[in-house]
Amino acid sequence: MKRTTIFIIFLLLAASSLNAQDQQQMVSDCALSIGGNTTYLKDFVIKLPEAGNKDNIPVHKENIYLMRKQTYLFTQCNADDSEGELIIELYDKNKQITSSVSKRNGKVYTSIEFSCNKTGLYTLWYSFKDGERGMGVGIVSLLK
């Protein structure tokens, strides 16, 4: 009995530690994969459940100030075991400015370069394509 308990404790501790490390690693890998000519500003780890139905897809929202005459790069990376593909939509209040999914052919872009001309508070909407369960990270960086 004791051995079983110790084994379960060990497994739980190991899983917890790996989870945190995996997240850190995922953020670092994604941020540093973007390459030169950018400066990291912010990251958002996104973990969302599968959508109950297609009309009610879970969304993770983050507010961010963007400044005029600055070009931002929004990069999305998926965790290795993520079922869904991370997508981003950029909103200025209730108006959608852009989305990483092409309306024309459904193609998902892993990065969006946004030349901002209006200083203000914007909202980033992160979700997984077709409401699949998933995990990923969104990185916001400055393009030099």
Partner: protein, 305 residues
Amino acid sequence: MMKKVLAITQVLLILVLISSCRNQGDKGSEFVFPESDSIPVKESEKLSREAIDDIVQNIGSPVEMAALLMGLEVPFISEHLASVEQAENLSTNHQKALRLGIYGADLGYLNIYQKTGTAVETLSTINKLADGLRVGQYFNFETLKNLALNKSNIDSLLFLSVRSYNQMDEYLRKNDRGYLSALMITGVWLEAQYLACQVVKDYPHIDLKNRIGEQKIIINDLLMLLRPYNESSDEYAELYRDIEMLKREYSDVDITYTPGEPETVEKDGRLIVVQREESSVEFSDEVLKGIIIKTEEIRNKIVSL
């Protein structure tokens, strides 16, 4: 049967323990005493504070203003940095959190300009302040110091230093220490504003002047962030009053908007979006002078404590 119940109880206890440990950082294994100077949160305030946190969590960026200065090809001026002397003698968490923010913006300025050798002293001071506020687990001093000394990987240095600030801020907010997070954010914002104000005196570039003017939008949210705590102590009330006075200097800054639809193209597999809606800022040199003087006054008061 009894043994099974005991085993399940043990597993549940471990799960609770693990989930509570998740909020600790890399070095965060020691017992944490209750925060002596944290502000008790009334239920009525809690919701509005959470809403405010959502709105304003990224007000202060330690690198964005420095990146603008670099982009405008303005030379690095070390005299603009806050002195790290006496920083170890700060007595209250209020002072430490404000300074942590100020040095964060200075570190961003140093790193963006690749003055990494000079950055080591600032890194060391930040490390001590972060430990003093018990958020040192998010500041990997040894790694940052090595990256700074080796000048080997500026991208990693910038990433790790900015991310450390993001994590410290997130940890403070999520652990009911928004009081300190607000001060840290104010420190970062104020120092970036101070740098811009010092530089614009010698390099009156229109983009820099406009960036200072655009802070009118942000200063309102900054005040909203500080407001729930402004009666918590005399030093908090004083800071709030100072930022309010700075806001008054912005009253004659006009920001207007021109509508437009964004243009999107695909290039090399990347989506490129150009916003056509524009904001523009207008204000006189006299107003700018008032903003500069008030910014200097507030920032210098903080760094002279």
